[in-house]
């Protein structure tokens, strides 16, 4: 990421300077205008009592934040979100890696399988959730019908707390394992060959070659893939909205969904602004910590 060597003429310096800004400024200004101002505005709103009865920017100090810290429903939604994203992302990673390894070397119909495995991540989450809802329908859906063929009784998929949680988990895994598969397979394809030759000369078997060669070489991609997925998973709300509406009760209510209810359904603008900022800060802090831990765990061990 260096610069060009020093231009020779004065005129050269000028064109260099103006073209430099021609490249960067449009995008930078667009993003600042569309993201930064709304964010600053949210910060301001979070110190107001803006709601259905009182619209406008008064100043009530940190009252909203005090309410956030006492709001059990919010902290529960955060715990649920952590559980959901940690379980789903680790399963997506494991399955995605296994799938990538399985089609990495020549397999019959490999091309076809690769395309097939990518398709779920291209589909719209809410649209597929509408379909999944019919799949999980307790009396008319195929999920219970197929389980019935194996003699397993009807599972209350969407009407029990555990069932609803598992349903969301299944849909998330179906939708996003392909993303892991894509990143990990792209990584596998570009691995160097020499370490494998060396391992083969050492007489290492499939299992040992994986743990001593493939896995360490894939560490950077592993970290990247896990972080990207954790970021995306922490925002989950589309699927939940369609599949369970956070229910039964609040059994599958994630933080985004809870903030949505407070903000755009109850119209407590000020309070939901405070909620969303606390949520944002927690996300940034915990994802940074997780990234650091992963780096130490995976790269530290290799080095």
């Amino acid at each position: 990421m260096g610069a060009y060597g020093a231009p020779t003429s004065h005129r050269g310096v000028n064109t260099m300077l103006s073209s430099k800004h021609f490249f960067l400024l449009p995008a930078l200004l667009t993003l600042v205008a569309i993201i930064l101002f709304p964010l600053l505005f949210t910060i301001r709103v979070s110190f107001s009592s803006w709601d259905v009865f009182q619209s406008g920017l008064d100043y009530i100090g940190g009252k909203n934040y005090g309410r956030v810290f006492a709001d059990e429903r919010f902290w529960q939604s955060l715990g649920r979100l952590s559980l959901l994203s940690l379980i789903s992302v680790s399963l997506q990673y494991t399955l995605g890696f296994a799938l990538a390894l399985a089609v990495w070397k020549q397999v019959r119909g490999g091309r076809f399988l690769r395309v097939l495995f990518l398709i779920p991540m291209m589909t719209t989450p809410v649209v597929m959730s509408v379909i999944w809802r019919t799949v999980f329908h307790e009396s008319l859906g195929p999920a219970n019908d197929i389980l019935g063929m194996f003699g397993i009784g009807a599972v209350p998929w969407l009407s029990s707390a555990t069932g609803a949680f598992i349903s969301v988990l299944i849909v998330e895994i179906w939708q996003w394992t392909p993303f892991m598969f894509l990143l990990l397979l792209a990584g596998l394809v570009s691995l160097p060959r020499e370490p494998y030759l060396a391992a083969a000369i050492d007489g290492a078997g499939t299992w040992r070659t994986f743990w001593q060669v493939t896995f360490p070489l894939m560490a950077p991609i592993t970290i990247g893939a896990l972080i990207i997925r954790l970021i995306e998973a922490s925002k989950i709300m589309d699927t939940v909205y369609v599949l369970t509406s956070g229910g039964p009760g609040t059994a599958t209510e994630t933080s985004s969904y809870y903030i949505y209810i407070r903000g755009l359904r109850d119209f407590q603008i000020g309070y939901s602004a405070a909620l969303s900022l606390v949520y944002l800060v927690i996300m940034i802090v915990s994802l940074t910590v997780i990234a650091k831990l992963l780096l130490r765990l995976l790269v530290g061990k290799v080095g």
Partner: protein
Amino acid sequence: MNKFYHILKTLFLFGWSLFVVFPFLWALTTSFKDANAITSGATYIPWVDYEPSTQGWTSLFTTGSQGINIVGPFIDSAAVTLIASLVSLALGTLAAYGLSRFEYRLGFVKNSDITFFFISQRIMPPIVLAIPFFLMLKELGALDTIFGLVLVYVALLLPIAVWVMTDFFAGIPKELDEMAMTDGCSPIGAFFRVILPNSVPGLVVAGMFCLIFGWNDFFFAFTLTFTETQLLPVSIVSLNSSVTPWWSLSAFALISVAPLACVAVIVERYMSRGTMSGAIR
């Protein structure tokens, strides 16, 4: 032992394939059912299990009280996604090229910080921006319009374009631009005449990611549009909450996921060529 691995692998691939295609097959078969076929429980094979009917599909193209019009939302979705993707790709590519070739400095802010600023926007939960976006578009009179959504989607997609293209340009040797400039091109000329034509693989990958995330967004479309502008994900969800028959719902779903399912073919081609590896690091 090798044989054991092989059988395990085959079973795993087979099982996963079934899991992947299952909801599509279920939607496909459901889209040809009628009320009787639905309420008699889960059935799978047309003609054997139930008598197929095409009303699920025809209802999507009829207007009026009997029909559900899919054409309008489809056009709106396509317009918003394509315009926003093109704008983000154009702005993002320029910025990424600038960041990979020039040095920017603003106080303590360096190139890497600017790149990070772009990419870090992906961490922002949509809900944090939803309310200010709502008020901002209301102020601009752009609520419930294609223009308003494009504006928001550009903010959503720009980070993706910058991210993919920064890595892509890092892999293009600087000698290439230098050669063009010794031939008398200005930096801007060198970019358009030499670099851009050589960037097609990167542009395709970045463009595809923009299309995927744009087409599949639900939340912003849901909070920022009402009746005038309706995107596919929003209209299927509003169908879902009313008492809409499963057959129309299934046909609707299949049509709205079909365009991007085709994109998977292109993604696979670029992935196996190894073009993707630079883009994802």
